[in-house]
Amino acid sequence: MGTPSERQVSRTDLFLAFLKIGMLGFGGVAPWARHVIVQERRWLTDKDYAALLGIGQVLPGPNTMNAAIMIGDRFQGAGGAVLAVLGMMAMPLVILVALASLYAAFAAVPEVRVAIAAAASAAAGLVIGTAVKMAVKLKPTPLALVFGALSFVAIGLLRLPLLPTVLALMALSVLGAAWGRRA
């Protein structure tokens, strides 16, 4: 097995994978993208995927969209990037318009409301579980654990403003990693 970046991923593969990610992406795309790309198809390692998400986070636009563009470009250049975006957006847009059209008719049905609420609770668990699983698989250094925990507390618990906090933490974390590898 070569390193993931040496794998051959065709344009059709890319499009279909992101089509699946978009279709499954209840409660946000990041956990589903990890499931399909890291776990199911093994195109990227957990580390590479998390790094792309991290870069996607500090760029404007949805972080998963930015990651999709970078993944598409990595395997199939500009065409791959376009296909990844189209794949990821296609099904959600169709489902969205269908939902919006039906919303008026079904919003009053209590079972629909309850089902959506339960799905939202499960989606939160999916995101939490994905983060824990990635943290376990990445085998973090003590320093990485500290910065992971700091990021979680700052944004998840203290609700500090996202951009300045994340930029500061990333800068310190990169400096820490550089210092750790010195020698």
Binding site: Q57, P60, I69, M70, A78, M89, I128, R181
Partner: protein, 180 residues
């Protein structure tokens, strides 16, 4: 022409695209201000409904913007709004992707990666906890969140199984009068 709704949609969302650092949720208040207060394309209730639908649907949160475009100008509005919010930030991501590819063999990229990864994972955990706080209002909901998290951690199977089970449990509990 200047007042054409499609042009206004394009300009509004294209200008938001490059400031939406951290994703669409960061600019939701600004979208609300422009869509409801400035252009009066819809009232508060409609905006809240569109937001709920965008959250319930699969896909990235940026879909709220697509839905606003659809509400204002039909299919053309949907297409224009989606392209306007995605294209500027997408081009930037592409440029960054090329830069990274060029420098990928250098030691600095490895170090940057080592530094970015823990922050990215911490942020995923943070967004999960924020979602749980918003969604979980009773014991059953907390149990569903915890059970789904455990399923994902312990099993490599498709998480859709957990979501489908959770939804069925929620509806069953409601039918049996166990939750409101």
């Amino acid at each position: 022409m200047k007042d054409h709704p499609l042009l206004q949609i394009a300009l509004t969302f294209a200008s938001l695209s490059l400031v939406s650092i951290g994703g669409a949720n960061v600019v939701v208040p600004e979208i609300h201000r422009q869509v409801v207060d400035q252009f009066a394309w819809m009232n508060d209730t409609t905006f809240a409904n569109l937001f709920a639908i965008a959250q319930a649907a699969p896909g990235p949160n940026v879909l709220l913007v697509s839905l606003v475009g659809w509400h204002v100008a039909g299919t053309a509005g949907l297409a224009v709004a989606t392209i306007a919010i995605l294209l500027p930030s997408g081009l930037l991501a592409f440029a960054v992707s090329r830069l990274i590819a060029r420098w990928s063999d250098t030691r600095w990229i490895a170090i940057a990666k080592a530094g970015l990864v823990p922050v990215a994972v911490g942020l995923i955990l943070a967004s999960g906890v924020v979602m749980a706080r918003a969604a979980d209002h009773d014991v059953l909901a907390v149990a569903i969140t915890a059970a789904t998290a455990m399923f994902v951690i312990l099993s490599d199977r498709n998480p859709l199984w957990a979501l489908a089970t959770a939804t069925a449990v929620g509806v069953a509990a409601f039918r049996l009068g166990l939750s409101v």
